[in-house]
């Protein structure tokens, strides 16, 4: 699916997680100024796996523990707000609260 045809919500998060592919992730990441390398993939795939299991986008601590990537390193991999960037690139909803 091309970037143009992609359905997102008002804040730019993927509307349908099944539209996601690794190719798409690369394009989305490039748009946000991130070039994906192995360390990025480990974090993104962990975030996607946790979201699929638990039904909500995980916080950074849980991603950090499961992917064995220190939170500091996650900030280096995804500067300018890793929680948002990871959710957008991994094609999962925005981390949110109940209100």
């Amino acid at each position: 699916m091309s970037l143009e045809a992609l359905q997102t919500d008002a804040e730019g998060y993927l509307a349908n997680r099944d539209d996601w592919s690794e190719e798409l992730a690369k394009e989305l990441a490039a748009q946000m100024g991130v070039e994906l390398e192995d360390e990025h993939w480990k974090v993104l795939k962990t975030a996607r796996a946790i979201e699929a299991e638990s039904g909500s986008s995980p916080g950074l601590r849980k991603i950090s523990k499961r992917s064995e990537t220190p939170i500091k390193s996650i900030y280096k991999l995804f500067p300018d707000g890793p929680a948002k960037l990871i959710a957008k690139i991994a094609g999962i909803p925005k981390p949110k609260s109940c209100l």
Partner: protein, 417 residues
């Protein structure tokens, strides 16, 4: 004699124990394990720091809340052996079960943040999620004469996700009454992208922050509390200065779930979102704050889960398939200060919508809107808790969410959920 063993006698554990005791025959023992001799009404912790609640009113003897017919082991769980179906205790012995219900909740872990338990702890750095913390904060606030009062959620998930926001609103009210509001900067610091994160709530409730002059610092993940300089520092090296810090530290599940097969990275139990059975293991259920579910960690959720879980456990005893009946239903009052509150009602799929509750079109409680009636209802709720919710007596609210009386168009207009 067969045994249903419940780990934890908080809101969830106590309610399910009462429900099961009423519905099970006498050849079933309903037993709970909980080391604490008292039961704490946790919603009261929000009011205690402002002197609007007393310790006596929010504590009861554990024995009186569990009542007759439920066995109470005042012990501490060490580990769960799901293969041999037994729970090992710190005291040395073990208890066997036919069905196990994990209701061990969640606790704050200030030890996980560098410096949080340093020199400033309970002097200028406070929590209000424990009785000791709320009491210390009451003293801290009484001595506070102005400056920067910072409320900081370190990370999600937390218990009662709206409580920090309610705290900010009540602090505004409290400081105004003391005549020091104009000498105080109220700052709300969140790891999320706003104090309100859902489109409809942001649009309809954003005015609350503006009207009350509450500053919001977003996407701030606290890595360190520096109580020498009185700043919190984020992982991306931003600093927020405080004179009085009200922190909501990271939350984790019970210690016996850490590094166990049953707990995830934060020691919450991976649980089926609809049947409430623990995943990948037989004869184990999980209820309340202990689950990894996206439903709110809140007392109302525990109550609705107890209703539905009771049916599932009775079915499981008879060898029936589990019903996927839980929908994530949550119902919470949100204090907004100055004698007003809101009511919100939502589930996994539907965000809080405006409308009337519980009777469609009539109310008497408006949804997602401030009013005095909701505030009085919240204050009355303590009695409902002790006399109906905890002993699991029927209350006139369905365990699954109803769309009746809700304005669906409000969300559709915003392209929300």
């Amino acid at each position: 004699m067969k045994t249903i063993l419940i780990l934890g006698a908080g809101t969830a554990g106590t309610a399910i124990a009462h429900k099961l005791r009423r519905r099970l025959r006498k050849d079933w023992e309903v037993a709970v394990i909980d080391p604490s001799s008292t039961h704490l009404y946790q919603p009261g912790l929000l009011f205690l720091p402002f002197g609007n609640e007393t310790e006596e009113r929010i504590l009861r003897e554990r024995g009186s809340t569990l009542g007759k017919g439920v066995t109470w082991h005042q012990k501490t769980v060490k580990a769960i052996d799901t293969e041999r179906r037994r729970v090992e205790l710190e005291e040395g012995d073990a208890l066997s079960y036919d069905f196990l219900i994990i209701a061990s909740g969640t606790e704050i872990r200030p030890d996980m943040i560098d410096g949080m338990l340093g020199e400033g702890w309970r002097k200028s750095v406070f929590d209000f999620y424990t009785l000791e913390g709320a009491k210390a904060l009451q003293e801290g606030l009484a001595k506070f004469e102005g400056g920067r009062l910072v409320i900081n959620i370190v990370e999600m998930p937390i218990k009662c996700p709206v409580a920090p926001l309610e705290f900010a609103f009540l602090a505004d009210d409290y400081l105004s009454k003391r005549g020091i509001r104009d000498k105080t900067e109220l700052v709300y610091v969140t790891p999320l992208d706003g104090a309100f994160t859902k489109p409809l709530a942001s649009k309809t409730l954003g005015y609350l922050l503006e009207d009350k002059g509450i500053q919001v610092e977003t996407e701030f993940m606290t890595g360190e509390v520096d109580s020498e300089k009185n700043v919190i520092r984020s992982y991306d090296e931003r600093e927020v200065a405080y004179d009085l810090l009200v922190t909501i530290p990271p939350h984790m599940g019970a210690p016996f779930l850490e590094d166990s097969d049953l707990g995830d990275e934060l020691a919450f139990v991976p649980t089926d979102p609809h049947t409430l059975a623990a995943k990948n293991v037989e004869r184990v259920f999980c209820i309340g704050d202990a689950t990894d579910l996206p439903s709110s960690k809140a007392g109302s959720v525990a109550h609705f889960q107890a209703d539905l879980m009771t049916e599932n456990i009775l079915g499981a005893i008879d060898g029936k398939e589990l019903e996927p009946s839980f929908d994530g239903h949550s119902n919470c009052f949100v204090e907004t200060g100055h004698g007003k509150a809101m009511l919100i009602d939502f589930n996994y799929e539907t965000e809080p919508l405006p409308g009337q509750f519980p009777i469609p079109g009539i109310g008497p409680l408006p949804l997602l809107k401030e009013c005095r009636r909701n505030h009085w209802a919240k204050l009355m709720f303590r009695h409902v808790y002790w006399h109906a919710l905890l002993p699991a007596r029927p209350i006139p609210i369905s365990p699954t969410m109803s769309l009746a009386g809700k304005q669906l168009s409000a969300a559709a207009e915003l392209g929300g959920e």
